[in-house]
Symmetry: C2
Subunit: 162 residues, 2 copies
């Protein structure tokens, strides 16, 4: 029934399709700029930026988990960071999301990661409940800050003034 | 006066020292487990988990920035993630933190990153004010969730039941 496997370059179109479905669920469909070429170049080249698991149900594409490794300077160890976890609406209620999380926990353990981390939208109560049920906790006191391309460019240009 | 350079394996002891100073500032000195050996193995081996900039003032160790690359599936591009930014108390007020941020923005731009991101403790008002002054914004709607070693192990072991 359920088969979870490591993605290959041949999955690039499937990965883009699932990213689009996820962005649509997050009410941000217009935000997706990634192309099949990006997925191949960034995920399946000599120094990939990410790894990906594909979930199939009776051979049909059902979901995915896209992740990479970060680093904790307190732990002195890598961590697994889950960027995207998604199960298509028609395949929900079969434990596929939990099976993907179990596989990811195995990857984290096998690669010496002492932390497994991700972000969730504040309104996604069912996801939050699920995450807490498997032993995750909310890092309430850490605020995430982001700078986007325009601000990055403006700040980088100040180096000439120094 | 100020000199910012890429760290090498010879800086491992300096990096551990600065991580300890930072953890002390964050009121979590006991949380630091990283060793000089960890820094060499994880930062300066064939496939490093992080990169690091060292700030020197008149040749003396003054601060550091430790970072790595993540990946945005919406952007289809890598991002720069700043894990640690720290200037020793005796070297503050000289623009060293801002100079490190300018250098990091240059790294982000040169490596094709469309996002530059980090986390800050909610009580660190002066840092938050500084980050907002250089064009960063708080990602309020994204909650960070974490699972630590014990929970990772418990979840990973469930694979045997499937």
């Amino acid at each position: 029934m359920l088969h979870i496997r490591k993605a290959t370059g041949d999955d690039a179109a499937n990965i883009v399709e699932l990213i689009r479905q996820l962005a649509d669920y997050e009410r941000e469909a217009d935000a997706v700029k990634i192309t099949i070429e990006d997925v191949i170049a960034h995920g399946f080249g000599p120094t990939p930026f990410f790894e990906c698991l594909i979930a199939e149900w009776e051979g049909a594409l059902a979901g995915f988990a896209l992740y990479f490794f970060n680093y904790s300077t307190w732990e002195g160890a890598p961590g697994l960071y889950l960027e995207d976890l998604f199960v298509s609406p028609e395949y929900r209620g079969r434990g596929i999301g939990k099976s993907l999380m179990i596989r990811l926990a195995g990857v984290a353990r096998d690669r010496g990661c002492t932390r497994f981390q991700w972000q969730v939208l504040d309104w996604n109560k069912s996801a939050i409940e699920f995450y807490e049920s498997i032993g995750a906790f909310h890092l309430k006191e850490w605020y995430t800050y982001r700078m986007e391309s325009d601000a990055i460019g403006r700040l980088a240009r100040q180096s000439a003034d120094q």
